[in-house]
Each structure stands twice: as C-alpha cells, then as structure tokens.
Symmetry: C2
Amino acid sequence: MSTDAARDKFRTHLSAHGLRVTNQRMAIFDAAFGQTEHFTAEDLLAYARAIDDSVSRATVYRTLPHLTGSGVLREVDIGKNLKYYLPNRDSSAQVAQVICVDCDKIFEISAPFMSWYGNTVSTKLGLTPVTQRLQVSASCDSLKATGVCKHRASA
Amino acid sequence: MSTDAARDKFRTHLSAHGLRVTNQRMAIFDAAFGQTEHFTAEDLLAYARAIDDSVSRATVYRTLPHLTGSGVLREVDIGKNLKYYLPNRDSSAQVAQVICVDCDKIFEISAPFMSWYGNTVSTKLGLTPVTQRLQVSASCDSLKATGVCKHRASA
DNA sequence: CTGCCTGCAAACTCTTTGCACGAAT
DNA sequence: ATTCGTGCAAAGAGTTTGCAGGCAG
C-alpha cells in the first residue's frame, strides 16, 4: 500500500466515523507511516512533533486507536508492558515476530499457515477468530560467539 | 506434575539460588499452584493472604519471577498490560492461548508443531529460540446468537 | 456557530524499589 | 549473629482522562 493510498484510507476512516481531519492527526499519520521499523507511542510523539510541534502526547495516544482501527498501522505487543507499532503496508500477510532477547530488535517473518489455528479454534470452542499472534523470543548466536550482536541496528 | 513434586521443585530452586524458604514464599506457591484458571498478581495476593495474611503485594511481585524461573508457573501475556499466570502442570507441552474477546476467558489449546518456527528462526536469522507464543483472539458465537457467552465461567 | 479536538497536567493501573524491622540459617 | 527477606509506602513507567480554550465543518 502506497503512502498516498494509506493517507486516503485514514482520512476516509475518520470521516466515516464522524471524526475530523485535523492537522495533528495527519501529522501523526505521516510520522507513523514514514517509519520502516517498529516504534513506540513515545517514539511516535517525537516523530510527529518533528512535523508539527503542536502535537501532544495525549493526541498521539488518542489517535493510535484510529490508526490501527483503519488498518493503516499494526499493533505489535511483545509482552513488555509497552506496545509497538508498524505501518501495515501489506495487510493481507500473516506474520509472526521474532524478538532478539539480546538487542530487543523485532523481526517480522511470514507465517503462512497460522490461520490453521483459527479454524481449529472455531470448530472446537465455538469461537470466531479475530486476531492471531505468533512470537518467538530468541537469543543471538553471534553475540555469544563474538560478543557482538550483528542484528543490532535500529533498536 | 503433582503439587508435592512442584513444591519440592520450587524449594530446590530457592536453595540452589541461595534463597531462603520462607513462610510467605511457600504460601504464595501454595496459593498459585492451587489455581486451575489463569490469575493475575493481584489475584494471587488475595489467594496467598487467605493462607498467610502477612503476605504483602511486594513479596508477591518479588516471588513471581522465582515461581516462573523454577518452571512451577507459566507467565501468559495476552497483550493487556497485565500479566496472567498459570500452574505449569505439564511443562513439556507446547500450548497456545485462545482469548475470548467478549468475556476475556483464556483457553489453552495444544500447539504441537509450534517448534517448527523455532527451527526456521535459528537457520534463517542466526538466532536460538528461547520461548514461543501463539495466541488467538476470538469472539463468542453463542454471545452473538443468544446474547449469552456460555464460556463465561471464572473470568 | 457549534461541537468535536486539543494541550496540559493530574489521575490511573500495574509494577518496582528504598528503608528499617524481622526472621531463616 | 549475620544476612537475607519482608511490609510499607513512595516512586516509576506507560497510558488515560477532565477541563478550558481552539479549530474543523
């Protein structure tokens, strides 16, 4: 999904829900969708302020649900009392996360058959799958061997 | 794993790490291992106080890492800024969680081939798997059909 | 003009920590 | 006796919310 298409998608989502298209919300969108790595709410505040310095922490937190709700951002919870976000450029793909326990870097890998579980669930428990998460925490081989974690790049 | 075996395992873990076997720690162990459903740290405080009312919140939080570290308890993070715990009666099984988004009940289902991902990770990224999580959020069919979520039981 | 949106700061939830007392070895 | 463990309360991190003024529609 291109940035322009995503921006339209977000704008449409806002309008459709009777929400206004404000400068702050669009600055937050631009800041978020411009990222290539996972980021936190606090990171996003800094990015958005670089575009529009009137953006406040509260507005970032109030806008994030609209960004995820419109499918423009994906929320990634890796069990650290801290949520991460990522532009949802390819919304159809089933992905899993691999988290390096040494450098905290998050990798995304494809997880093609994850939906098999959804089907199992629906038949066995009388539930309809909504979302699925598959995550692997792993330690860095190169760190153990050479003392340097070669995955460490962004953070 | 029987309760007695688990209690020994916990005691051994404490001793092996130069930690003392105190009344409070054992009360917390008994309270935790006696549960059949998922519980939070706050729940555990209440359960433990029913056994030994001198147990404090701080001690519960300080003891939980030892309970999970010894393999007696499993920590389950379902992305709610709140950690859940469960007695680890069958530590060898790979399990996934199914969380009902309507009643918040957590089901555990077996996930036999989850380790396949671990192998994929190690070869592709130069990482060694430490832990894996697979979770499915799902909505309740009976709630939608009859207005009552028949899964709602404990919490 | 109207009412949603905003920034600010305080409140909130869950968890961690400093301190002096108390108990296990 | 030592040393670690404990309860208490305050601090901490991340997030949410009440309020008075501001801007989109």
